[in-house]
Symmetry: C2
Subunit: 159 residues, 2 copies
């Protein structure tokens, strides 16, 4: 059993990459954690709703290849459940206790996630009502997973 | 009229500092922005409620020295108004239109802000119900201010 963090699009900004790598290393002290980055689709300059749908659908297919049938899937969706770090920790504990498969966090690219991912997801998580840059949102997610595991292990990180 | 971002405690992690400096530079393209960092108080290993109150009070005094009487003050408080990036942009527009003085965003250190800051504040803003590392929260705040100004100036950053 492990945590998978699946995201769309390779990050270019070094500071985001450094922070994510640091949190991933720290998460791995508690639980095996794998980062999976699927490539984003090239985006035309002028984008119609139809082509946006196609882009998101193609990105979703790549995401699905990395999810197993029994994985517990958490999709990051801005308009969904806004919970505290303590509640996320409790939920992760519950998911770890109840399911014997991997826990997958999925965070979309700049276009957001396709509806099929929302439908597959077992839980919808919102970190904020605010929109953050993709790289920053991924840093925030990694920090929250690390914080949750630290809370569950009585670490000193969270106070 | 300018934006002041007041925080407590110097950040050590280079990646946070780099990201903050980058957003500050971008904010300055739209509106003059000053970063003010007041020193945090040394924290004893064992901390009582009384000494925590004293620490926060001392930090608050240093913050107050950087606020003018007519400044419009926004305190970052986890249990307060959770709003979207678009709503923050509208509010900043309104504050800029209504007040001729500086807009001060205040973000606490690892101990949080003293009650006197909450009372002085004209608006309480929450970016999330989740607790984030101090440096990360400051990056998030700077990104949101930049995003808000970009929205107000029809920039391409927000979509």
């Amino acid at each position: 059993m492990m945590i998978k963090i699946i995201s769309v699009g390779k990050l270019k900004q070094k500071a985001f990459v450094d922070l994510i790598n640091d949190y991933l290393k720290r998460i791995n002290h508690y639980l095996k954690c794998q980062e999976i980055v699927v490539s984003d689709e090239p985006e035309p300059v002028q984008i119609s709703n139809k082509s946006l749908e196609q882009i998101k659908s193609k990105e979703a297919s790549k995401i699905f290849k990395n999810i197993n049938q029994n994985d517990f899937v958490i999709a990051l969706i801005i308009e969904s459940n806004i919970i505290s770090s303590e509640t996320l920790a409790k939920k992760i504990q519950q998911w770890l206790n109840t399911f014997s498969h991997d826990i997958c966090f999925i965070i979309g690219g700049s276009n957001g996630l396709h509806e099929s991912i929302y439908e597959r997801a077992n839980y919808h998580l919102s970190m904020s009502k605010m929109t953050f840059a993709h790289g920053l949102a991924k840093v925030m997610l990694c920090e929250q997973i690390y914080r949750a595991l630290s809370i569950l292990n009585n670490g000193k990180y969270h106070k």
